[in-house]
Symmetry: D2
């Protein structure tokens, strides 16, 4: 977990723990697993390991380490994700074609960069801008840690042998009932308060928003509830769907969430723990915005907005951290319903009906780091909360995740809302 101790010393300890977690994620992998890329979006884990290292090399060591010599002249291009101002990145969809550098060479790259960043942190003259970029680099790596798990899951799922990432067992408890919790709305402060530690630039500027009274669901939608939607013909009734969603669903022949499959009368779900019987108590996950929206319409509700969500979450403690190797999958909301909604964090990301747009007054920073967030503010939907694959310490009420409405490979779920 990233500490709020923003001294070089605090950074040093954060750096070590965050960097270590990326390697822990890879522990169960065979060398062969590191290279998989089934779609343009699901990068090889080897590439993630290298790219997060490249980030520190490019944005910290090159500008701030006196006399720094690049580790390898080819890596600048190979492990650049999308920073056009740094040159032409290697084509995203072909990352699986890079058998070299090997896994061992990438670990060597990591460890070499690590040592130098630690040297810089340990020195008496680490400039504040370098410290700030190291902090950004750690949050950046945490984002990639979640992608490592979701990309790996997608890539393994193409193999009919159904490889199991880690063995695990989980007995879901019974889910608590679904209630709608009334909220007064009003003119509310939204966005990150800079006094409260790190946030990405897209979480600000903090500003006021007028929110109508509304009610928010006390928990996420379960597999069992989603099955009712399917059994009621949800995937064959265009009147429930957004037009783009309906076309997408037809063209991809969607009939159920991404990792579900039917074997005779039984539903199974592919997980990071292999094929598992589908539990009706667990939250539904790996659905697109289109499916979430159609489900909401089917049951006479709607998805919440990101402002509604944040206004509630900012008053709720983060009771559940995400990533736990013992069970890399959402768990049931078992607590009795209270005034506070459950599963805001650490379970599944929650599609909102808010498009991903800049907040009033938002400006991207100049230079290559200005490409981090701002240039994606079009065509995507905001997701709020965090998931069972989000690293500890990476959840906060103002966090704005974003994906295309057709994306399904993240741990996404459904949080309903209603007008009052």
């Amino acid at each position: 977990m990233i500490d709020q101790d923003r001294t070089p010393h605090g950074r040093l300890s954060d750096f070590q723990s965050v960097r270590a977690l990326s390697e822990q994620i890879c522990e169960p992998l065979a060398v062969e697993d590191y290279g998989l890329q089934a779609r343009v979006e699901t990068s090889p884990l080897k590439w993630h390991l290298a790219h997060t290292t490249w980030f520190f090399e490019t944005f910290v060591l090159k500008p701030f380490m006196p006399g720094y010599t690049p580790f390898h002249p080819g890596y600048e291009q190979l492990f650049n994700s999308y920073y056009n101002s740094l040159g032409n990145p290697y084509p995203r969809g072909q990352r699986h074609l890079l058998s070299r550098p090997t896994v061992a060479e990438v670990y060597d790259y990591r460890h070499t960069i690590d040592r130098q960043v630690l040297d810089l942190l340990d020195s008496s003259h680490c400039p504040p801008e370098a410290l700030a970029r190291i902090e950004l680099g750690l949050h950046h790596e945490q984002q990639h840690q979640e992608l490592m798990l979701t990309d790996l899951k997608y890539n393994l799922a193409q193999n009919p042998l159904w490889p199991c990432y880690r063995e695990a067992r989980h007995t879901p408890s019974e889910t608590s009932g679904l209630r709608f919790l009334s909220q007064p709305g009003g003119v509310l402060w939204i966005g990150h308060d800079p006094a409260q530690g790190f946030a990405f630039d897209n979480e600000g500027p903090r500003h006021q928003v007028l929110v109508q009274p509304f009610a928010l669901a006390s928990r996420l939608i379960t597999n069992g509830e989603y099955l009712e939607f399917i059994q009621d013909g949800g995937y064959s009734r265009p009147e429930l769907w957004l037009a783009d969603g309906w076309n997408q669903s037809l063209s991809q022949n969607w009939q159920h969430p991404l990792y579900w499959q039917r074997q005779g009368a039984q539903w199974l779900e592919f997980t990071l723990h292999g094929l598992q019987p589908l539990s009706p108590e667990l939250p539904v996950t790996h659905i697109s915005y289109y499916e979430a929206d159609a489900f909401a319409r089917w049951c006479g509700a709607r998805l919440c907005t990101e402002f509604e969500w944040e206004s509630v979450a900012s008053q709720t403690a983060i009771s559940r951290q995400g990533l736990d190797f013992a069970w890399l999958h959402p768990t049931a909301a078992t607590a009795p319903a209270t005034l506070h909604p459950l599963q805001l964090f650490g379970t599944t990301w929650q599609w909102t009906q808010s498009a991903y747009l800049p907040y009033p007054g938002y400006r991207a920073t100049s230079g290559a780091l200005g490409e981090y967030n701002g240039k994606f503010m079009c065509n995507q939907q905001v997701l709020r909360g965090s998931s069972c694959a989000t690293p500890p310490g990476h959840s906060r009420a103002s966090y704005r995740n974003f994906f295309y409405p057709h994306d399904r490979w993240q741990f996404t779920g459904i949080r309903l809302a209603r007008d009052l």
Copy 2:
């Protein structure tokens, strides 16, 4: 212009004038021109003529005309645009393959339906719901009238003979200077007031929005100003672009607005009046949201939000109606700058940085007509105002037009804004 006289008698006169305008638009056409469809989005004019007629047949005559016999059993499918609840529409991209019914048969269809709608309006027992649907049908037809002109323009532009839709000449006057007009913002009412006549359902419910202080450009951006962006390398500097826009621009090899072309040292622009020299005084048009956004970033401004725009427009008289056969192209803003922005209406649609989303409390109506607007509320951007191709009477401050950010074939333009 559609009257505000909402009696059967007022409707009768509106019906005649709106239906007549569609045919006036087609007057200069050769029979061969009616069938063109160069892209899935740019339907043949014959299809528009039939589909707007189908709308009255399907939603007025079939339910409200006792003993009504359909004009032709095949037309229900052929001329259904996207109403899935009415059956499987004929594939949108193949409308150009329908040489039958012929143009003459489609006019016969129009006139036959016209007579029966007029009979219904003229009768003493036209039910209020039928009246409401006729009103909707007329506004629907006005939307198609604008599409007829923009689709035709796109389709003719594929022909290297550069066919001229109507002969015209226009001498642009000098454009007034660009200023930014400060606005106080605050908690403002947004959306259509039902007491104020017809509006589409997506313009409501009327509700309050908190808007920060801002400044709005006094007029639209001109070709001359856009040329400076081009000459400054605007199309080759990824840092100015949204990521999706940059990819789109590369894949389509965009180098200038849709209808511009270069002949030696001279820029020309294809218009409904044939190829014309590009005038630097006229508003730039036929640009995507991506281009508008990149231009704004290039000059240190931003696009306005739909709420900012409406808050200003609702206090400004609609001084300029759109569609005028004498010059089917934007004209310059020649008036001296005042407190009120120029060119809000009747010139080009204005991309806003607002995604097309439902207003709080919005619900689509039930039945097929519920597919009119709501199902498109994803992936598109709101455009405000109206254009030189918008029929008279079809402009209003609450109007929400919407297109995909890559769309360029509408008369779209750039209205800048700034934070204060």
Copy 3:
């Protein structure tokens, strides 16, 4: 029919009759029908009318008519089909976008060129090379006449109103039995004998080929016989298919010949005379090479080679001319079987298992006319004979037609053969 009288006078009469037939083909069309193009291969009939005229203008009038002024400066590009040495042809798949020139303007183009070609023919100084090119132009136009009918058929078939090109009725007689006629083979002369009148360059040089003894089917395969193949699972048994054919069949979901459709228990076939009940007595047509080959394998036979076919056809009179407006569809082989196979000409083209390759010693002529045939000698299969849409006088034993193995929109059929 093109006369063998190769004097200017004979050419004059040929020219008039061939040019007239193209217009007779268009007589039943509405103006709207002239512009249809459902696939890149199926050009608008207006384009055919103009291109065949362009051929005479480009290859006869421009080089041989002193002081000739082109009819229109834009037509050189618009109506060039594929002659790269004459400049960049207008994109083939976009011919349907050329509403201008109009149908009337294209007829004017035709008649203006006609008058000048006739003047040239009538003059005392028409050079022999001009005469030869006029002869080529007439055979070229005959090829397009067949394409006009097959393209039109394909394009009309996209319309669910099933437009009827010409009204007609036909009562098929009973088909004679299928026999295999033994042939001795040997070293045989193949290819056109230049002393025997006109032929395309790809029919020569005449040369010897060694052919093994074989047996040739006495007639074409019927719809009834093809139905047995379907009912025996022919479209779902990969072992019957070439690998490329099987993939094509899966990707296009082929279940029957191109224009067949099922209505309840009944099979119908779309024809140039509208939808007709499928007659089991008529030859099967509109099948790909893949389907023909799979059918042959299914019944333990094979398709013939082009040399086998020609060796038999060159000894058989052409008893049946093709194109007859009264019935633009194959007819049954009703004659009792004799020593000579039936339906070699005027019924359907017959896929051979010969790839379209140059004969030994073949060289394309230099200049643009060298692009006529030679550059297509790859990836295509030879078809022999002629069809019900082939103009009178255009059939001969040495004729080599060629299409891609997946093409189905020509009048193609199945002639079986067997090894002895």
Copy 4:
């Protein structure tokens, strides 16, 4: 090299050496290299190792080993290449997604199957059909050995680090002059003589073909000669190209052979020994049929037919075996010209102008093994000879290799011919 000793004992020794060579090919690989697949055609080497094993398991052990238990129930599908009669093969283009089984598990699979095949061979009761299938399986594996090298080359070439498969140096000697050697033609025997040992079914039946007199080039075309074609505008002159080739060349922006690249004024060539300066003395390779054909037309010659080639090769000793780890690239023809052409074998495959079609009387065997060759006899061109990547003992005069005319990733080259 596969022995002609067709006893079980001879087979046993062949089996061991052929199986060993596949593993020797993989010796220099990192585990990561085994999984690459840059195009649907270029399978991962791990897959080749498993598929060639699957062949013995499926066609030898399952039918002929009493009480045989499959190694793994999932492998039947995973490692089936294209045998539809054995069930649905795993999608060809997704083989790179199979990180499991791992490389070690695949070697385990190989060795387990090897032991059992050796047991069968060693036993006193190995049936003749099993022996014949083992022989087929060995020739099958040899074909895959060549593919392993060409697939690997293609896959490594996607990496801008230009990985070197094996270090090597080679100093090309000067090439001998190009001459055309006259051949009398006549009625010649073509195809494999069954008395002469193993051949694939597509090399027979042996039959007579009439061949016109011709002249065959004394050696292959060199890089230097091909450079002249490039410098003479060969890639921008459509009159030199087949129509399909020209379109392919434009759409892929071909400007030179597959692995050539330009660095400033210097040409380089990617090889299995890394990037090398392009030597003008070496044979040009990795060109499509379209390029070979255009080159031939450019220099006033043509490609040979497969019958011309075989008639000469059947009278020429195979002086050069292929695959040699010391230099996995074509070498120059240095010998002085004689009556016999050089480089018929072991250098590059030679595109012929013959389409890949069945010989007269050819019938595929029944059952799954009937899918081995026959179903590919469409759309491909025959290549003759063998290449620098062909395993020793796999070359013969009757061998018919076949690829699509656009394929470039094999070691393909140009053998010219001329009419006499």
